[in-house]
């Protein structure tokens, strides 16, 4: 049965259903419904909502719990997410599975509470130090928030890697009808034989994130590089809309992809053959899927709630074979479909953008 639910609450409920029994977080708008929902529901589920003293502490609580083998999660918004960057780098290096939601708001600085996607770089290029990438999943509907949250926990366990839910503030606050399809069945996952949870009956485990020599450091980095290549091969996710006959394509994720859908309706009603390529995994960026469309598409356009970040990844894939335009709104504003249509016409149809 469908129920009307806020995106943030949907994430929280889905996490509980996926077996998450510990949430460590610190309140921050517009993500606060996640901890609040957890505070309300975790106890009944036999789990714990734990309010950390800060986001720095929260991410390391996640670190400790994940290292001990638990399904654990945190949720925050942009400034809080910034405070977690050292932790994310550590989580990657110590190969600790966990799920973090970043419900993005207006930045930089204290900024504002309006929705943005301006943490894209931070999310996908690594806001912390060193060469690493968490998996980043970007839902576009509240239902997808549920489905991806559940999947996030599995992916985290499979790859021993943090998985981030990249949610713009609108999705976090929006209500839509959703369904929870029965009892969640986790995939058959590798046993956590590596976890530091008491060594009775087995050799002791250490979960650490340092290396003693540069040689060892390089070896670790190469091993992680291989793991990331595996993720790039297996975990690129995207959705397409009206691309089969398209001459032009938008690229957009999350809320901006939905606004773009409406813009596409408008353009199609004017006879313009345009479609949508929607990355669902922001990292790994769905380069292979996009690449398949490159021969067919005469002009691309990235629509973002930022000054233009993902557009770089689009350009890297298109690599000069067609113009790639960009339109975005910032600081909490969202574009109207009409603006997207107009920008598309200027930049792509009239060729206002460089190849």
């Amino acid at each position: 049965m469908a129920i009307l639910m806020k995106g943030n609450e949907a994430i929280a409920e889905a996490a509980i259903q996926a077996g998450c029994r510990l949430f460590c977080g610190y309140p921050i708008t517009p993500s606060t419904e996640i901890p609040e929902y957890m505070a309300k529901k975790m106890k009944k589920a036999g789990g714990t909502y734990l309010q950390a003293e800060s986001e720095v502490a929260a991410i390391y609580m996640v670190y400790g719990a994940g290292a001990a083998g638990a399904r654990v999660m945190s949720g925050t918004s942009s400034p809080g997410f910034s405070l977690m960057q050292e932790g994310l780098s550590y989580l990657f290096a110590a190969e600790i599975p966990c799920v973090i939601a970043d419900v993005m708001r207006g930045g930089p600085g204290l900024g504002g509470l309006g929705p943005t996607q301006a943490d894209y770089f931070q999310l996908t290029k690594g806001g912390g130090h060193g060469d690493y990438h968490p998996i980043v999943l970007a839902p576009a509907t509240v239902q997808e928030m549920i489905d991806l949250t559940k999947e996030a926990f599995d992916l985290a366990d499979i790859y021993r890697n943090p998985v981030i839910l990249a949610v713009d503030g609108i999705l976090g606050q929006m209500m839509e009808p959703v369904e929870f399809p029965g009892k969640y069945e986790a995939k058959v996952l590798p046993a956590k034989t590596w976890a530091a949870d008491g060594c009775e009956g087995r050799p002791k485990n250490n979960v650490i994130s340092y290396y003693l020599s540069s040689e060892a450091g390089e070896a670790d980095n190469l091993r992680w590089g291989k793991k990331m290549a595996q993720m790039q091969a297996a975990e690129q996710r995207f959705a397409e809309l009206s691309l089969d006959d398209a001459e032009y394509a938008f690229v957009a994720f999350g809320t901006s992809s939905r606004i773009t859908e409406t813009a596409i309706d408008m353009l199609r009603s004017e006879g313009v053959k345009v479609g949508l390529f929607r990355p669902i995994s922001l990292w790994p960026f769905p380069a292979d899927g996009l690449l398949k469309r490159v021969p067919q598409i005469k002009g691309w356009m990235s629509i973002e709630l930022s000054a233009g970040q993902m557009v770089q990844d689009v350009r890297l894939v298109v690599n000069g074979r067609a113009p790639v335009g960009f339109y975005g709104r910032q600081g909490g504003m969202t574009p109207e479909p009409e603006e997207i249509v107009a920008a598309f016409k200027t930049q792509i149809l009239k060729g206002g953008v460089r190849g």
Binding site: P30, M174, M175, E176, P177, T262, E338
Partner: protein
């Protein structure tokens, strides 16, 4: 805007203990004004899928977010696609809050509403902000208890109702929003009356007294509209 406001304005839903800390202003008298345009969207059985886009605005505590939730809930119960998004004005406490609701027969693309077909403005700031966003042929509901008679538009229908007074007469100033919901239901329904009432009861009918009060408010609004 403050994070507090974001949170608070939303929790000030109908029927919860958290109501406005200050009594609402109840001064302007009830007037109605209509222009002869048809509402853009109805639920009438045409072949073309129908999408209604709402913006509901007022100041925090007037329950506009709640009205939106009832509409969305009703839409969902009617097996339609729905979205509801809260938005908050730039000011501090007492600032403007609004929500966007989309109810549609087909999959909803943009959940944000820049140009509503149906708009509700519960205070003057909202009126001034949203008057010009309504699509030509759309309908604008105005709480004339608070919003004075101001320049309007000729290409939309403007429905004015002193819902504060009407609510007061029903026994609680708090249900002004529900009275307005009734008026909207009578003039620009997206769902059947039963569906709307069921949705309202779902969200604010837990306690019998409140259920009764809300039901009465909804009825009062619909009757008022039917007399227009």
């Amino acid at each position: 805007m403050t994070e507090r406001d974001m949170k608070r304005q939303e929790t000030a839903v109908q029927g919860t203990a958290e109501a406005e800390m200050t009594k609402p202003v109840t001064t302007a008298s009830a007037t109605t004004k209509s222009v002869m345009t048809e509402p853009v969207t109805t639920t009438s059985a045409t072949m073309k899928p129908v999408t209604t886009k709402y913006v509901l605005a007022g100041f925090g505590g007037q329950g506009v977010l709640f009205v939106g939730k009832v509409l969305a809930q009703a839409g969902m119960m009617a097996k339609k696609q729905v979205t509801w998004i809260p938005a908050y004005g730039p000011e501090m406490r007492g600032g403007t809050a609004n929500c966007s609701v989309v109810i549609s027969d087909k999959k909803i693309g943009s959940p944000t509403v820049g140009k509503p077909s149906v708009c509700l403005t519960m205070n003057q700031a909202a009126y001034e902000k949203f008057l010009h966003t309504v699509v030509a042929g759309g309908v604008l509901y105005v709480n004339s208890s608070i919003v004075p008679e101001l320049p309007g538009r000729d290409d939309i229908r403007i429905v004015r109702a002193s819902v504060n007074e009407m609510a007061h007469e029903l026994g609680s100033a708090k249900v002004a929003n529900i009275v307005m919901l009734g008026i909207m239901q009578a003039l620009t329904p997206s769902v059947s009356d039963e569906e709307l009432e069921a949705a309202l009861m779902d969200l604010a009918g837990k306690k019998p007294e409140l259920a009764e009060l809300n039901r009465k408010a909804l009825k009062a609004g619909m009757e008022f509209a039917n007399r227009l």
